[in-house]
């Protein structure tokens, strides 16, 4: 039986296994430092489709197919897909999986979607409800720009705290038995809003949520920062990571050199013109499901606290003068 530790952390009993991971990314991500880990790099921003939205669904679906290929599973083996994206009504995921004939739960956690899906899938597998689940998330620079910002060809500058939405989709297969790193505990996050209003500074909006979840995870499990190889946040970007470090220190925890962020890993911040780094559901999804899993298989990483963070805003609420509520879900992955 799984056990609730403290108020927030679930210690898993059967410890679901991450059997395999796959990711497909766009050209800019393919020019970044993690290029060799991705399964495919799509140069065409339309990915052979007619619209950016369809392109996003296409790369998500292709990442899913790649995952099945890599894990040697048939779609009939999969009991459940848990997936989400940034688009209104979560359409990238629902159009991607509309004809795969597998039960599907659509999730919205903004950029925290990947750890949200892994949190839920782990608990479902641990409880014996399902045997195999696919957790996936996607984002596309062009579909996100037109929904959240301006038309692509509109001339504008980015502010010094802005981030760049990653074009990419990542998927992992979780199962009750097999080989691979295990998910040993999960900490679903609370919604935290520290009053940040600037939608071009999502790193600062999300770092209090990341801090809260990390502190609660450590408290609940009785572990310290030293027990982790890295604490891998979703997409706080360089500025958000600075703020997270400050917040942890103010709360009496020195993160030392353990903080790592998917948004700063996926791009070369100085050369690629992405300001503070990557963002979008596809960022942490693609980094975790390829690069991080690869580091596990090589034995370089043995215990990672994966904390994907999401800014739960909409352009409408921001225009109405609202602040940005944020969330972070933690998944402890052990070799």
């Amino acid at each position: 039986m799984a056990k609730l530790l403290g108020n927030q952390t679930v210690l898993l009993d059967k410890q679901p296994i991450i059997l395999s991971g796959a990711a497909i990314v766009g050209k800019k991500e393919g020019d970044g430092p993690l290029a060799k880990y991705f399964d495919d790099i799509v140069d065409d921003e339309y990915a052979g489709e007619k619209t950016f939205e369809a392109a996003e669904s296409r790369i998500l679906r292709d990442a899913f197919i790649k995952l099945l290929e890599k894990s040697g599973k048939a779609s009939t083996d999969i009991n459940l897909i848990l997936s989400g994206d940034l688009l209104n009504q979560c359409t990238a995921a629902s159009y991607a999986f509309r004809d795969v004939d597998i039960p599907y739960l659509g999730l919205y956690g903004a950029c925290s979607t990947m750890s949200e899906s892994m949190t839920i899938a782990s608990m479902l597998i641990d409880g014996g409800s399902i045997d195999y689940a696919v957790c996936a998330a996607s984002s596309h620079f062009c579909s996100a720009e037109r929904q959240y910002r301006f038309p692509l060809e509109y001339g504008s500058q980015r502010t010094p705290t802005a981030q760049w939405t990653v074009t990419g989709a990542g998927a992992v297969l979780l199962g009750k038995k097999g080989q691979g790193p295990r998910i040993t505990s999960v900490t679903p996050g609370k919604i935290i809003d520290e009053g940040i209003k600037d939608s071009n500074n999502m790193g600062a909006a999300m770092s209090p949520a990341a801090c809260d979840t990390i502190l609660n995870h450590l408290n609940d499990t009785g572990r310290t920062v030293d027990d982790m190889d890295i604490i891998l946040t979703g997409d706080l970007g360089s500025f958000g990571t600075t703020m997270l470090r400050e917040l942890l220190i103010k709360n009496g925890i020195d993160p030392k050199n353990k903080l790592s962020d998917c948004g700063t890993l996926i791009f070369n911040l100085e050369k690629q013109g992405v300001v503070c780094g990557g963002s979008g559901c596809g960022c942490s999804a693609s980094v975790f499901s390829t690069y991080i899993l690869d580091q596990f298989s090589k034995g370089i990483l043995n215990r990672v606290l994966f904390v994907a963070t999401g800014a739960l805003l909409s352009p409408t609420r921001i225009q109405q003068g609202e602040t940005i509520p944020s969330i972070a879900h933690a998944v402890l992955v052990e070799a």
Binding site: P151, L152, E153, G155, S156, P160, I192, G195, I196
Partner: protein, 150 residues
């Protein structure tokens, strides 16, 4: 999380730590970009003058040419790069206005000519038009009343 800092303190922390814009660099790049665009406009105007056009014709013809250039550079995916470099230097001149109308027209073509291009074309330029026209009416009224009184 034990509340070690308040919302207010956090916002102050963010403000203090947030990287700022490079104001001098931004101003310089905007000056260069805006200056180049205006110089091109001046050259176009001189050409029309060379053809013997009167002042009003010259001004209108130059605007038309500059609007076309803005639209053309947007269409070939260049104007956004100019604006990335030049900021306000690229968005304030009439070429930037052209860019703000052509870019949504291109972007929303996928949603059709009515609900896409038609409805979204003035997404960015709309407020400029609304308040531009409104303030010109107010200015006109003030001018009119001033003339009556004086």
């Amino acid at each position: 999380m034990k509340k070690k800092i308040t919302k207010h303190e956090y916002q102050a922390m963010v403000e203090e730590k947030a990287p700022g814009s490079h104001i001098l660099k931004d101003l310089l790049f905007a000056f260069i970009t805006g200056g180049v665009i205006c110089s091109v406009g001046q050259i176009v105007m001189l050409i029309f003058e060379g053809f013997g056009a009167d002042m009003q014709t010259r001004a209108s013809a130059t605007s038309i040419v500059m609007i076309f250039l803005g639209a053309f550079l947007t269409g070939i995916n260049v104007y956004d790069d100019i604006a990335k470099f030049g900021g306000a230097g690229a968005s304030i001149p009439i070429t930037g206005f052209s860019n703000s109308i052509v870019s949504p027209a291109m972007e929303y073509k996928k949603e059709g000519y009515v609900m896409g291009v038609g409805a979204k074309m003035f997404l960015i330029a709309g407020p400029v038009l609304v308040y531009g026209i409104f303030s010109s009416v107010v200015a006109g009224l003030v001018y009119f009343i001033w003339k009556q009184v004086m």
